[in-house]
């Protein structure tokens, strides 16, 4: 069977992937939320390094240490952001390319925040 790479239709004009069109909004919400979650982890990591009080507060489990609070909070931030963005964008045509660009910037900042050479610059005395 030959299929048009551009339209997705075969020689008889059938759509090989005939499914109702879904809005891109929920996809964009998931992408943006992952960026927010990454940024959250980066911010928490740097804050914990900069402040002993924050580091102590994030020690939700003594065996795991501050990593317990950082990761649990980052996951909560990610899930809340996803829920809020999903509700806000679920019926929209919010383009995934724009969401990806924003998410990549947020992920980049998140990675920077978790990079030891960076966050150790803020180490509490």
């Amino acid at each position: 069977m030959t299929v048009d790479d551009r339209t997705g239709a075969d020689a008889r004009g059938r759509d090989v992937a005939a499914e109702p069109e879904k809005p891109e909004g929920p996809i964009s919400a998931a992408i943006l939320a992952s960026g927010v979650g990454a940024l959250g982890l980066g911010v928490l990591t740097t804050l914990a390094e900069a402040s002993t009080a924050v580091k102590d507060w994030l020690q939700w489990n003594d065996r795991v240490g501050p990593l317990s609070g950082k990761t649990i909070l980052a996951v909560i931030v990610w899930l809340v952001a996803w829920a809020v963005l999903h509700v806000a964008l679920r019926r929209t045509r919010y383009e995934t390319t724009r969401a990806l660009v924003i998410a990549l910037i947020l992920i980049g900042l998140g990675v920077l925040g978790t990079f030891p050479t960076f966050f150790q610059l803020f180490a509490a005395e």
């Binding site: 997705g8 992408i31 795991v64 383009e95 150790q120």
Partner: protein, 170 residues
Amino acid sequence: MSFTNHEWWALIHGMVLGAAFLLAFAGGLADLYGLRPVLITDPGIAERMRRLKIGVTAMAVAAWLTVLTGTWIVYPWYREMTPDSPRSKLLADPDTADWHTFGMEWKEHIAWLSPILATAVAFIVLYYGTGLIRHNRVRRTAMVLFVLAFGFAAVAGLFGAFITKIAPVQ
């Protein structure tokens, strides 16, 4: 020829789940890349989509299990405040201290980005389904996130392997 309980968990965390993650990534990426009208037939769509959904879901599950076992089971043994814990051994020698202050410090954080991104990709595939065939833009976006999820896991995995080589959890 035997392993301690700690070594078993380190193996499950690094090798069993790591291998599952790698397999799921390879399969998922190949299927995402090949999800183009010119490469698939009508009968092939259902099979391809089923495989893709299993692949991306498996990768997300493997990523979550890896970070959860790593953070909550293996990491506490690594950081025990005893002279013979891996962390203490690394910090005791200036030649190996960077494996903790840089390697472990980065690994323990960046690893958590992988399941978040893998879950986003799994959602995109499960939600959009065959719409990915029509919309190259969305498919490519999913591929970028998928590769990023793998890249972050690879950084964490590599540091984990190196640190285990120098100061294993026993």
